[in-house]
């Protein structure tokens, strides 16, 4: 898959685009090593989704982009966010970076990917396994680095993009950027809205099949985000920035249900995110133009992810009363009615991070990358932790050396030393080698991962009412850290018309942490009464436990073929198998299980046509398909196999270099109307609503002039993207 994306990226630029500034061979990646490499020479296998692929595909969300343009990801959108899988492993094992910074916050193990504005993505790099010493050994499944667009031209840039489609789906994006002298500013706004949809009114609840359930397959939602980035370059050798963002998302649930045990909701869900960051990059030497320069970066950031219930009807909640305001009730768990219009915080995850790193080009063709980072996590969950709050910290020190002495061989070795408040010190090594022979590349990699239990896995507990199923999920302070060993082998060919790649990997995890069913008796004393729920055994207690071990193995293959100048074909395929061993306390034996959501086969393919009929008009057509075989689950049935087709047509109007440019885009997704109507709450293979149509109109105003930064002109440079 990695290769698939890489190939696709490479192929697309080579389409009949007269104005290509860079040839496809010059794609630069940074995620694997933290240093810039041409994609073909990246020591660590890296998959790229380029801006051109993004433009021609026209995805409305990061979920659509990752599932449509690679074969490695699987998604199931839940109430709370997106359940994502990469190589069979879920969100907790996937590190998502925006410009090198970790996105923050999860609810129920799902990340809210609405935070990522698809219109603002320059490119996406994907590195599988815990192969990068830079980004933490906890990225056991891999790293997704989303590199955003940065408008660094002198003058003013502004754009407006409005996308509208089926289900009242609205995606609005705006950028306003200007650069005056040493100062720069970029403001981004995005809004996303969708009315949601229902694939089936059937629901298994209360021991019967209801035929009038109002539960939606995807709930109505709306979110918006405002982000600001300020830059200041006092000298050619120093870049400083400060940035901040605010994000809000509302998930609105059905109000017209008739069955309180499954489709009547007395509260909606809301997230509030905020972030702030400052940092800078300092070039240490004034070497001659065109040479690589040593530099140091320092970054500090703060993130908040708060999750609320917004009540829509009177609801009794079991609340831990803490504070002298409660008088004689201080310290008690109490039943408190919440009224419509009121909100209650469920969890507030905050994180502060600081990172200092440097890249040094040493004699003997060595590139040394070294850094330290410190991370502090704070959880405020008044009714969902024993004492109301919990915290954790982790420090890390890493060094990585790239040895490039031999033209045909690159060796990269890294060490990451992690110290965690609860789990002490741990050293994890990473090694990769790349052999170059003409248009062929061969890569081998081995890396160790180390992931300490998160604050939530240790301390969080809550009643999770999911339609007619009620779970009581409990953190476990007796968890051990998870460890992994990742082995990969890759062969790649990059010819002028054809690129092909095959990658095999095995990821072995020990002490893997998962939510597993436990007897109700394991619920901590004192909260049992509240959490027996409606008195039925519909409440299933689940606790985070270390599974004994888990293993995933996969083969990814990609192919790209440029038929003619205007037309290219790409295909990606991923085979996956998983196996986990779990101790079943009730039966006193080991059981072997597949990891939930695993599918053996996933694929995607596309035909892309692009032609400039005249300097003022360019047509692009992208016909693509993606599919998956059956997804396996331990409970509630397997997800059906699916294959979905999609077409996106773009019209670019306006001459290059002019003040204004326009783009009109129309598309049809799921052309053959595939719909999985499996009843709630059984698993769907895909939650698409069937055929949808969309249209986007974009207008860009660019009064800017490109200024070349003499320091970084040797390779495509996007400021601070490698941080």
């Amino acid at each position: 898959m990695v290769a698939a994306v890489a190939l696709v990226c490479l192929a697309l630029p080579s389409l009949a685009q007269d104005s290509l500034r860079t040839s496809r061979m010059e794609e630069v990646v940074i995620t694997g090593t933290g240093t810039q490499h041409l994609l073909k020479d990246a020591p660590v296998q890296t998959e790229v989704i380029s801006r051109r692929m993004l433009d021609s595909y026209g995805g409305k969300s990061i979920e659509e982009i990752l599932s449509g343009l690679t074969a490695s990801f699987a998604f199931s959108e839940g109430d709370m966010g997106s359940q994502m899988q990469l190589g069979g492993l879920g969100n907790a094992y996937i590190l998502i970076l925006i410009d090198g910074k970790r996105i923050h916050g999860d609810v129920g193990g799902e990340n809210d990917l609405g935070l990522i504005d698809p219109h603002n993505i320059e490119r996406i790099e994907i590195v599988k396994g815990a192969q990068s010493a830079l980004y933490g050994s906890d990225a056991m499944a891999g790293v997704i680095n989303i590199i955003t667009k940065k408008h660094t031209e002198a003058g003013i840039y502004a754009d407006n993009s409005t996308r509208y489609g089926t289900h009242n789906d609205l995606r609005q994006h705006n950028t306003l950027a200007f650069n005056i002298g040493k100062f720069g500013s970029q403001t981004n706004f995005q809004l996303q809205r969708n009315d949601g949809w229902q694939n089936t009114a059937e629901e298994f609840a209360e021991a019967t099949v209801l035929t009038d359930s109002k539960n939606k397959t995807v709930n109505k939602f709306r979110n918006w985000q405002l982000a600001e980035r300020l830059t200041f370059k006092p000298t050619n050798a120093l870049e400083l920035y400060a940035e901040g963002s605010y994000y809000k998302k509302n998930i609105l649930r059905p109000r017209n249900g008739r069955h309180p045990s499954c489709d009547v909701y007395t509260y909606d869900l809301r997230y509030n995110n905020a972030s702030a960051a400052v940092g800078g990059k300092w070039f240490l030497s004034d070497a001659a133009l065109g040479t690589q320069r040593n530099y140091i970066t320092l970054d500090a950031d703060w993130n908040k992810h708060a999750y609320y219930y917004d009540y829509t009807a009177r609801t009794y909640e079991y609340v831990l009363l803490k504070g002298e305001e409660y008088g004689d009730l201080d310290g008690e768990w109490y039943s408190v009615p919440m009224f419509p219009g009121q909100s209650k915080l469920q969890s507030d995850q905050q994180r502060a991070m600081a990172q200092l790193k440097g890249i040094f080009y040493l004699p003997g063709e060595n590139t040394l990358n070294a850094g330290v980072e410190h991370r502090y996590d704070y959880l405020n969950a008044p009714d969902r932790t024993a004492t109301g709050t919990a915290s954790d910290w982790t420090s890390a020190l890493y060094v990585q050396d790239e040895f490039n002495r031999l033209r045909w061989l690159n060796l990269t070795a890294g060490l990451r030393l992690v110290e965690n408040r609860n789990f002490g010190l741990r050293l994890t090594p990473k090694v990769s080698a790349m052999l170059a022979a003409g248009d062929f590349r061969f890569r081998l990699g081995w890396s160790q991962g180390f992931k300490t239990p998160t604050v939530k896995e240790l301390h969080y507990r809550y009643l999770h009412v999911m339609g007619s199923s009620t779970f009581f999920n409990i953190g476990n302070v007796n968890l051990s850290p998870q460890t992994s060993n990742y082995y990969s082998a890759n062969a790649e060919y990059r010819g002028s018309k054809v690129t092909a790649s095959v990658t095999g990997y095995v990821n072995k995890l020990d002490n893997m942490i998962a939510l597993v069913n436990v007897p109700v008796g394991e619920i901590p004393a004192g909260v049992t009464t509240a959490y027996l729920g409606d008195g039925s055994d519909n409440v299933q207690a689940r606790m985070y436990k270390n599974m004994d071990d888990a293993r995933t193995w996969s083969v990814d293959a990609t192919l790209s073929y440029r038929l003619v100048k205007q037309l290219s074909l790409t295909a990606a395929y991923s085979y996956l198998d998983t196996e986990a061993h779990l101790y079943d306390a009730a039966k006193d034996r080991m059981t072997t299980v597949t990891i939930d959501g695993m599918a053996h086969h996933k694929w995607s393919a596309a035909a892309t046509y692009s032609h400039a009929f005249c300097p003022r008009y360019k047509l692009g057509v992208n016909l693509s398909t993606r599919g998956s075989s059956t997804r396996f689950y331990q409970n509630n049935g397997n997800g059906k196999a699916f294959q979905i087709w999609r077409i996106n047509i773009t019209h670019d109007l306006g001459k290059a270099g002019r003040l204004l440019a326009y783009r009109l885009e129309v598309g049809v997704d799921n052309i053959f109307n595939f719909v999985d109507r499996t009843m709630h709450p059984y698993h769907l293979g895909n939650n698409t609503s069937g055929t949808t149509v969309h249209a986007t109109f974009t207008i860009k105003f660019n009064q800017g002039k490109r200024v070349n930064n003499p320091i970084t002109s040797t390779k495509q440079h996007l400021n601070n993207e490698e941080d």
């Binding site: 007395t266 009794y316 905050q350 600081a354 004192g526």
Partner: protein, 380 residues
């Protein structure tokens, strides 16, 4: 060095700004506390007004508060109605109130859980015992009975005891404190009574309930096994050890007829498979098995865990799974399970007049809850 200084300065500025965010969190916290205090107080007021209106209407001076875990089934609501009516007949001088200790049951009952037997949605408002008890105190009833509708003296019953003690100690938010002189008088007059669960006393209650059950089911016991399904208690260090009552009841029943068995859904070592093991120990390897709920009402457990029929209640790969119903379990092992129903539903204990009377007798003979009151103002 200048450059490094700039970087460090920037980081320092950031760190200085961070407390502002924390301040925002504090605002959040204060707003939440204010909301919750307001909500609790208004819920007291609302319960107070309901009880005050009832007292004004009935002009009665005795209150009986029945505390059940709760249910969302309409047949259970009807069972509670019947129980309330029976109490009103037994305590003609008293206002009788029914409360649910489960928040989810209250929420779902008022939202309209399930339907009546004609398919109509039934919405019922129930109240939480701590709020209703406050209201009873605010209305200054001169005699109060708090009756547990639990079957065994376990964790749920411990919560009932705790709420009565809290009441007697005026343990509320300051603005809604009860009249302390009134509470002192209740104590002095020995006018607060705690009615104990159905199977509280192993020597008196257990044989009495066994007798009543045998009266009701002896015909069934003559034809085959009669198996009762109780709930079970966590039996942890800080809750009462109550599960032994099921064992004691089985013993008492078997003295009357060896065909009686008592199991649970949640007591370790006494699940459906343990019941079957005990049956097989007695060489009962087939024949009829009549299934009855040993719970105050017939709700989810009785309908699903006990009586559930069909593939949704059966996983052959894991016969003892807690998701498998008793009905399907005994069927699989070649017994002939049968769930006797009245109308369309199995019966809960509150629907059985003889058993309900055991509870009513508990209330009638409820003891004064000694040492529950400690003045909030001991120095006075």
């Amino acid at each position: 060095m200048k450059k490094i200084s700039s970087l460090i300065l920037a980081a320092a500025a950031f760190c200085l700004a961070a407390p502002m965010f924390t301040a925002c969190s504090d605002d959040d916290k204060n707003e939440t506390i204010n909301n919750i205090v307001y909500n609790i107080v208004s819920e007291y007021s609302y319960n107070d007004s309901i009880v005050a209106a009832q007292k004004a209407k009935s002009k009665k001076d005795v209150a009986v508060l029945l505390v059940a875990f709760g249910s969302t089934w309409n047949n259970a609501f009807l069972a509670f109605d019947k129980t309330k009516a029976a109490y009103e007949a037994a305590f003609p001088q008293a206002d009788v109130y029914v409360s649910f200790s489960s928040d989810i049951c209250i929420n779902r009952a008022s939202a309209g859980e399930n339907t009546d037997d004609n398919g109509n949605i039934v919405k019922r408002d129930y109240y939480e015992p701590r709020y209703l008890l406050h209201a009873i105190g605010a209305a200054k009833y001169s005699k109060i009975y708090v009756q547990s509708l639990q079957v065994i003296p376990g964790e749920e019953f411990a919560a009932v005891v705790a709420s009565v003690k809290k009441f007697m100690n005026n343990g509320y938010i300051a603005s809604v404190h009860l009249d302390d002189a009134y509470l002192a008088k209740l104590e002095k007059d020995e006018a607060i009574y705690l009615g104990l669960p159905l199977l509280n006393d192993p020597d008196k209650d257990v044989p009495a309930v066994a007798e009543e059950l045998n009266n009701l089911y002896k015909d069934e016991a003559a034809q085959g096994v009669v198996a009762f399904m109780g709930h079970g208690n966590p039996d942890k260090y800080d809750t009462f050890k109550a599960n032994i009552r099921y064992t004691q009841l089985e013993k008492a029943l078997q003295k009357l007829n060896p065909n009686y068995f008592v199991g649970t859904v949640d007591m370790s070592g006494n699940y459906k498979q343990d019941v079957m093991d005990r049956m097989q120990d007695k060489k009962i390897n087939g024949g009829k098995v009549f299934l009855h709920a040993l719970m105050s009402i017939a709700g989810d457990h009785a309908h699903n865990d006990m009586a559930g029929e069909g593939e949704d209640y059966w996983d052959e790969e894991d016969p003892t799974s807690e998701d498998n119903s008793w009905f399907e379990f005994f069927k699989y092992y070649k017994y002939e399970p049968e769930v006797p129903v009245v109308g369309k539903h199995p019966q809960g204990l509150l629907e059985l007049e003889g058993i309900r009377n055991v509870w009513i007798e508990h209330t009638k003979h409820a003891e004064f809850l000694e040492d529950a009151y400690h003045s909030m103002y001991p120095e006075e």
